[in-house]
Symmetry: C2
Amino acid sequence: MPLQFDGISIIKKSNIIYGGYCINHSIKFKNGATKNLGVILPTEEPLIFETKVAERIEIISGRCWVQIGENSDVIIYYAGQSFYVPKKSQFKIISEEIIDYICHIEGH
Amino acid sequence: MPLQFDGISIIKKSNIIYGGYCINHSIKFKNGATKNLGVILPTEEPLIFETKVAERIEIISGRCWVQIGENSDVIIYYAGQSFYVPKKSQFKIISEEIIDYICHIEGH
């Protein structure tokens, strides 16, 4: 996994979700693709994210517990791993440490 | 003030300072310059940052109170404003909201 993205644009202002428990920056690639690069802070309750489009969440550092859509399974994801969330679905995520992640838009 | 940086590289993993009260990403420009783009979360006590090199801190969003070096003045900085910190000095910063900022390296 490359440690950096090259040749991108980044919006200076962050996106602040759940009062700062999720903070990310939108980055844009030359081919028009957009991703969000950011962090999720530790919480006592899971954060819930709804998807409009299909997304792949890549964990860059840390460890988190994830439940996707109607599936009741909770799966642990570690740095280097990804999980896929269909469009018009949701996922719940919780961690005990700060997670670095990338949200890849997978389709509309 | 442009809303974004273009043609940059960004390190995927964030820099986490003060247990997450300051989180930034290192970005690199084609000319070799490096800046840090990130956020400072609200705290009850000021965060203290020591400078090895001269830095200019640009506030992208929010409002913060800043004290630089031995100067006892506390100055409020708003979005769009910057403050300069000499090398081998320090500054104290506190805010009641999430601050977006850029740390520009001004000299060695």
